[in-house]
Amino acid sequence: MTLFRLAFKNLWIRSTRTMLTLLGISVVVAIFFSLFSFGKGYEKALEGEFSSFGIHILAVPKGCPYEATSLLMHGGNIEGSLSMKQLEEIRQHPQVKIASPLYNRHTKINPDLNPGNFETALYAIETDLFDLKPFWEFKEGRPFESNDAKEVILGHQAAQAVQAKIGDELAFIVHKGEDKLTIKGTLVGILNITGTSDDNFIFIPFAWIQELVEDRDIIKAVAVQTMQGSTIADVSMDLSLLRDVQTVTFRQAQYTLQQLLDTTRQLLQIALVFTLLLGLIGLINTMFMSVEERKKEIGMLKALGAQNRQLVQLIITETVFLVFMGSILGILWSVGLSNSIEAGIRALIESAPPGKLSYFSWPIAFLTVGGAVIAGGLSALFPTGILLNISPLEVIRNE
């Protein structure tokens, strides 16, 4: 008969309380672990998305360039616009190798002409954008023949949603003022999975859409690649001097978005500290109750020769076991529910990068369990004050 066995039997006999305490600990640990896992995963996804770009600078209309960048990358609509004149000025910079205009707007497949009811972002691009996106590979088909061809390229997931094959005629609805306009083009290419938001988009030649919609001579952004050997920051500075043009380098955008994420994470961490405190208070309360209602038993154990040190060990064993099991359960919760949590995050953060946002890290898992066990062990010391003052005689007399 060991003290450990006695500790486990004590937990077993109070199974309802043990289960509730385990559940409480596991929820706190799951929140804690999820926050760290998602923070790390988000950082990696963001880095992956930015590092695959051949675009060095994005020129956008005046406003918040970081917000514009994030919106543009994820299919959102940005305020303001640039003109063809500004595009030409950018192209004339001696250190600019490629300057490719971008135009995007919301669209949906015409349900009368195509199966499904797919809504997404329609991107009007020029063929030189293929050079700025070296990670684009064609699963089937080819790039546009020209910048004014009536041709369509689909991202991998968009192609799956539309269920179209190369050569099919696709019809999309776009708004022209108050009117709805249906545009038709031939599907000439389907992209492989890129792991970016591009997988969901529809691409058409830039000149074609300029003819069709009211936004003639309107560009949402210009993607720029600089000459080899030039300093990106210097070119960015030069371009930002153009009238009504703001520039952002992709490194800056990545850094800023990461900073935004870190700020959010810091706010969440403050909330987390309170959650942890509540969890600890709950745990201390449980252990207090456990000691209080076992005063007779503890007094008797003292009469049998149990030393205070051994009884403290008993309480700490129970607490540490509870916290350890609760932490493991919490991490399993977090991993098991990561897909649902990820969906929730995507619903809340429109510009969340594609790919897996949750990142399981063994070091974080070990640190979480270790930290919880240490905190639990320390919290178990609080009720031991009662335990040390229990006199066997007091218990016997009360009988």
Partner: protein
């Protein structure tokens, strides 16, 4: 004599009380639970303290068993005064005694065998092979080894408590109203068991009871009234 020496000692000790008193306060009123008691308990004897409820027999028993401290007076074990030990040492000293109470204080989650083995966990000892069976056979419970306290009768539970008290091989067995929760048949059996243990093991037995009939079985009977020995 150190705790270790006392624990290693095999023969029962002589216990001597010299003018021992115990006072406590109930509000502002001073209550004399035990007032100037002097007595001598011979080694390997069977002593019964009798008296009405509130006469001070339990308080006296608790002080002999190091569960309580005298306000005045001295207690000697084998002519060595029991010092006012710090709490940790008192716990160790207690392991040289075996206690049996009116309430059995068995741990409900543990089996009979585990309850009996419990004192060894605290003294970091291991039971020798067959030791539990031997002790359970002393109290005629070898067939109930795997049962839980809830599956036993009151008499059986008290016998488990006695077996547990014997497990540490105490020099003195202290029993405070051990038959208080038992019927007459079981009470009779319990005292017969005490007699048997006293004879077979040579352990000193000090028992507090208000049952005069049962107390007649002991070698020495001391009657208490208002905290004093008559």
């Amino acid at each position: 004599m150190s705790n270790k020496q006392l624990q290693q000692k095999k023969a029962s000790p002589e216990i001597r009380l010299e003018n021992v008193s115990k006072y406590y306060y109930r509000g502002t009123e001073e209550v004399h639970a035990v007032a100037g008691v002097s007595l001598r308990v011979k080694p390997a004897s069977f002593l019964c303290l009798v008296g009405a409820s509130g006469s001070g027999k339990s308080t006296l028993l608790h002080m002999i068993g190091c569960l309580d401290y005298p306000t005045n007076g001295k207690i000697f074990i084998d002519e060595v005064e029991v010092p006012n030990l710090e709490k940790r040492r008192i716990n160790l000293r207690r392991s040289t005694f075996g206690y049996v109470f009116q309430q059995f204080f068995l741990i409900p989650t543990l089996s009979v065998e585990e309850n009996v083995l419990l004192p060894l966990s605290f003294s970091h000892k291991k039971a020798k092979p067959g030791e539990v069976d031997k002790i359970l056979s002393l109290v005629h419970l070898e067939h109930r080894k795997k049962h839980r306290p809830s599956q036993l009768s009151g008499g059986e539970m008290q016998r488990v408590a006695i077996a547990r008290a014997l497990m540490n091989d105490p020099l003195v067995l202290i029993a405070d109203e051990p038959t208080g929760n038992l019927d007459s048949h079981n009470s009779e059996e319990m005292f017969n068991l005490f007699l048997e243990l006293n004879k077979s093991t040579g352990k000193t037995l000090i028992c507090a009871t208000h049952n005069m009939e049962l107390a007649q079985k002991a070698q020495q009977i001391l009657t208490m009234k208002d905290g004093k020995l008559l």
